[in-house]
């Protein structure tokens, strides 16, 4: 009886804490997204039910290209980014000189305007750019980096450059949240550095890692801005992403195609997050 009363109190509390967020969230996100789903099944806004949008979408070669590029970009760049930034954060969390300065330096690329940095990418990777100066100097033939198979690599580089600071902040915040006592106890019990890393640091970092992975995926979609500004709406086939596709469809006012592409994307994201959620829960049970 008492237990039930308590949980009802908890339910009420949860509702009060959530109310403002849920109200605004449904109004500005949930309902609009629902409408997008609706549009994806209509031949025009307010039209009758149809699956032809999906059929056309899946048959379109530019959608296939965009989807596979996006998939590969995310699959390759996210693990690289997460690993590199975790290593950096672990290094920074130890005894180093100028720690605060270094941390600021890593975060700086994030706050620099995309517009002004894009010009630097052009200076580096253009046909007449600096990288080609170096290539010629060492006797290799020059490359048009953004208009060849290399473009994918360049974009991965830009993405890692930009987001590394973001992830390092998050990882550092997570690392500082691990109580020192855990390490002291581990020392008393004679745990080696590797044991400490896996047994304490990485285990207690799980919620942060979960966050970082999701953020990296999210930001891997935002790299579109740079790609777009460097290479335009129709870049080399290698870096034609889903957002290019959606943007082009949106601008040619094909709302139905945008919506169905979005729904398909949402389905893939659901799968991905489901997997992440599961992993997180398994690790969280270790922690408690």
């Amino acid at each position: 009886m008492k237990l039930q009363r308590l949980s009802r109190k908890e339910l009420l509390a949860a509702f009060v804490f959530l109310a403002p967020s849920i109200a605004g969230f449904s109004l500005f996100y949930l309902i609009p997204f629902g409408q997008s789903i609706l549009y994806s099944f209509q031949d025009r806004i307010g039209g009758s039910f149809t699956l032809s949008n999906y059929k056309e979408l899946l048959l379109s070669s530019s959608f296939q290209k965009a989807a596979s590029n996006t998939f590969w970009f995310t699959a390759v760049s996210v693990p690289i980014l997460v690993t590199v930034s975790l290593l950096l954060a672990l290094l920074l969390n130890q005894r180093v000189f100028f720690r605060n300065w270094l941390r600021t330096a890593y975060v700086l690329p994030l706050v620099v305007p995309v517009a002004s940095i894009v010009l630097v990418w052009q200076i580096l990777f253009d046909w007449n750019g600096s990288l080609n100066v170096v290539m010629e100097h060492f006797g290799y033939s020059r490359q048009d980096w953004m208009k060849s198979e290399w473009a994918g690599l360049v974009i991965v580089l830009v993405y890692v450059w930009k987001n590394i600071g973001y992830n390092v902040i998050l990882f550092l915040a997570g690392l500082q949240n691990i109580p020192d006592q855990y390490y002291e106890i581990a020392d008393l019990e004679g745990a080696g550095p590797l044991r400490r890393l896996f047994g304490i640091t990485l285990t207690y970092l799980t919620p942060t890692t979960f966050l970082v992975v999701l953020m990296s995926v999210l930001n891997s979609f935002k790299v579109f801005r740079e790609t777009f500004l460097v290479a335009g709406a129709y870049p080399h086939d290698r870096i034609y992403m889903l957002q290019h596709y959606m943007n082009n469809m949106f601008l040619s006012l094909d709302i139905q195609k945008v919506s169905s592409a979005a729904v398909l994307m949402a389905l893939c994201m659901t799968g991905l997050m489901f997997a992440l959620f599961r992993t997180e829960r398994i690790f969280r049970s270790y922690m408690e």
């Binding site: 804490f17 403002p20 969230f25 002004s116």
Partner: protein, 314 residues
């Protein structure tokens, strides 16, 4: 001896990485102090495939010139005005989202209620969707609520963004349940637990959230463009920066550097699109015609796609 040699090596490695990461930023700042002439001499061959002249990567300008800053800050005060507009848009979003998200994330992270994980999942989904997906329904919603051409059409969706909830929930999960159980034993209510336990413990998270939100929303371009169409004065700074016509470069750089101190600016991508898209050029559609066509075909209230930003003269 051995005590400081390892930290020193670590520091050197980290410093080397930092220098590598900072190079583009430094280059950007340095060129903002160059004169027009110098920039053209060093970088004007970009984007041309026929020339055999390479760019000349230059770290130190021959002449340090404040000419561009003068142009942006003093000769054309419009920039400062727009800058203030940006601040007035971004500040309420940051404060609002931090407040709403702290409350909600406490419920998601530390309370038990049915449907909690499902609801959170929905938050995540919408957070991960690209902006283009919900643009049209969002516009309709703003119209229905009578928010078009009003700053709140940007601020409100920002305040209820899912990102804050998501980020802070992670920090809430770090709080050990034992603290909360103990507080309950002592007879503390949920509000009390929130204020005295959760809030102090997620402070680093809130700080991180503020930084990240700032970066994200300072970069927003699409929203002001679509919801403020026709209100020149309300456009955020980002909208003012012209597309990368070669002549506008210096200004973009210069604006960029001023912005660097506070956040970021992006130039408008739709304009770039219009200018580069061959199909658009071929058919000679104006944005106005595009909008009319769109409305006629979809029975929407008149969408004013007209961009509300001015070009800097070249």
């Amino acid at each position: 001896m051995k005590q400081w040699i390892l930290p020193l090596l670590r520091s050197l490695l980290l410093i080397a990485i930092a220098i590598l990461l900072l190079m583009p930023v430094v280059l950007s700042i340095v060129s903002s102090f160059m004169t027009e002439h110098e920039i053209m001499a060093n970088y004007s061959m970009l984007g041309k495939t026929d020339t055999s002249i390479f760019v000349n990567l230059k770290w130190i300008p021959d002449w340090v010139s404040f000419q561009q800053y003068n142009k942006v800050l003093i000769a054309t005060p419009n920039f400062l005005y727009l800058f203030w507009n940006s601040v007035m848009l971004v500040a309420p979003i940051i404060i609002g989202q931090a407040a709403v998200a702290t409350l909600a994330s406490f419920a998601f992270g530390k309370l038990n209620f049915p449907g909690r994980d499902g609801l959170f999942f929905l938050y995540l989904m919408t957070m991960l969707m690209p902006f283009q997906v919900t643009l049209v329904p969002n516009y309709l919603m703003a119209d229905r609520l009578g928010l078009l051409n009003h700053p709140s059409s940007i601020i409100l969706p920002g305040v209820f963004g899912a990102f804050g909830v998501f980020l802070l929930r992670q920090f809430m999960l770090h709080i050990h349940s034992a603290y909360i159980e103990a507080a309950k034993m002592d007879g503390a209510g949920y509000w009390r637990i929130f204020i005295s336990i959760a809030l102090p413990m997620v402070k680093p998270g809130i700080a991180a959230l503020i930084v990240l939100l700032f970066v994200d929303y300072w970069n927003m371009v699409e929203q002001p463009l679509n919801f403020f169409a026709g209100r020149r004065d309300a456009a955020a700074v980002g909208l003012l920066i012209p597309h990368s016509g070669r002549c506008a470069w210096r200004l973009v750089r210069c604006l960029g550097c001023i912005h660097d101190a506070y956040g970021a600016a992006v130039f408008e991508r739709r304009t770039v699109f219009y200018r580069r898209n061959p199909a658009f050029r071929r058919e000679g559609l104006s944005e106005g015609r595009l909008a009319t066509w769109y409305c006629e075909n979809n029975g929407l209230p008149a969408l004013h796609w007209r961009c509300s930003f001015s070009y800097w003269g070249c």
